[in-house]
């Protein structure tokens, strides 16, 4: 694994660790989706570098993150969760559109 692939793998760690800490503190299923998203991202980087098409990567990540934020909002009812969910979903939707629909 070269340094650039390692760097791309590392991008999944902050949200994965955050999900792990929040899941440990709150025992709620919402943060688990951050861990799933991190695992999916790491798997995606390894699979793409091995030659698998990256087309499915961002749409699936979008679904995982959206599901996590919906469950999170149902639990905490905070505006911040909606804003965070909307921002992340918008970024992922734009990337998905650029990657898949273009």
């Amino acid at each position: 694994m070269n340094a650039v692939v390692l760097l791309l793998v590392l991008t999944s760690f902050p949200l994965g660790i955050l999900g792990l800490v929040e899941f440990r503190d709150r025992k709620h299923i919402g943060p688990m989706f951050s861990m799933i998203a991190a695992a999916w991202s790491i798997a995606g980087v390894i699979l793409v570098s091995a030659g698998v098409s990256g087309l499915l990567f961002f749409p699936v990540l979008l679904v995982i993150m959206l599901a996590g934020d919906v469950l999170e909002y149902r639990s905490d009812k905070r505006k911040f969760t909606i804003v965070k969910g909307l921002l992340v979903s918008t970024v992922l939707a734009v990337v998905t559109a650029a990657m898949v629909i273009l």
């Binding site: 070269n2 340094a3 650039v4 692939v5 760097l7 791309l8 590392l10 991008t11 760690f13 902050p14 949200l15 660790i17 955050l18 800490v21 929040e22 793409v48 570098s49 091995a50 030659g51 098409s53 990256g54 087309l55 990567f57 905070r78 911040f80 965070k84 650029a98 990657m99 898949v100 273009l102």
Partner: protein
């Protein structure tokens, strides 16, 4: 006094996303390993960093009437459809460029396009355009106008999955050899260079 739990959580989430952002920025700013042909014949090579974010390295091979440009771009994953969308506009862009820069009226016609072109062990996109010019032959009043293929303009692109880099290549090679037969050798050299380019 410690911050309320809600604020601390918001701060932690923002910090985590900031870390992700910084790591992605570091990824896109990472220098690429420029793709190159093994044999460069007598071509003059110019190297330069075209952009830092994303990191794009540009290598230009020139030799009189032929040139090859290889751009190596740091990307996550680039679909072939994105390359095709860019290459589809190449004819209009090249015609305008020739008109504005050199005052030459040329007609660029698509000859070949393949969106699943097997190249250098990858599946990429290849477009080949014919650079045509109307040439008037004979003496008045017995003149005829013929469309002559002066050169070939090619564009190739593919994603190097191992290094997370995309390679975009453009070349222009002469195709009209009647007035200068040495151009045929130049064209052959350039074509073998193009065929020889691979991910680092």
């Amino acid at each position: 006094m410690s911050a309320p739990r809600g604020l601390r959580r918001i701060g932690t989430v923002l910090l985590a996303y900031a870390c992700v952002f910084v790591l992605y920025a570091a990824f896109f700013a990472s220098p690429v390993s420029p793709a190159e042909p093994t044999d460069t014949f007598d071509f003059v090579i110019e190297d330069r960093r075209y952009s830092s974010l994303p990191y794009i390295h540009e290598r230009v091979y020139t030799n009189g009437k032929a040139f090859l440009v290889i751009a190596t771009v740091r990307t996550i994953s680039a679909p072939n459809s994105a390359f095709s969308a860019a290459f589809e506009r190449l004819d209009g862009y090249a015609e305008s460029y020739a008109r504005e820069q050199y005052g030459v009226e040329i007609d660029i016609v698509l000859e070949f396009r393949d969106e699943s072109h097997e190249f250098a062990g990858h599946t990429g996109v290849k477009f080949v355009y014919s650079v045509n010019k109307n040439i008037t032959m004979g003496l008045p009043p017995f003149t005829t106008t013929q469309t002559v293929k002066l050169a070939e303009l090619g564009a190739l692109a593919w994603f190097c999955n191992v290094d997370f880099e995309s390679i975009v290549m453009f070349y222009v090679t002469p195709f009209y050899f009647i007035e200068d037969p040495s151009l045929e050798l130049l064209s052959s050299d350039l074509n073998s260079m193009v065929e020889d380019v691979a991910c680092h």
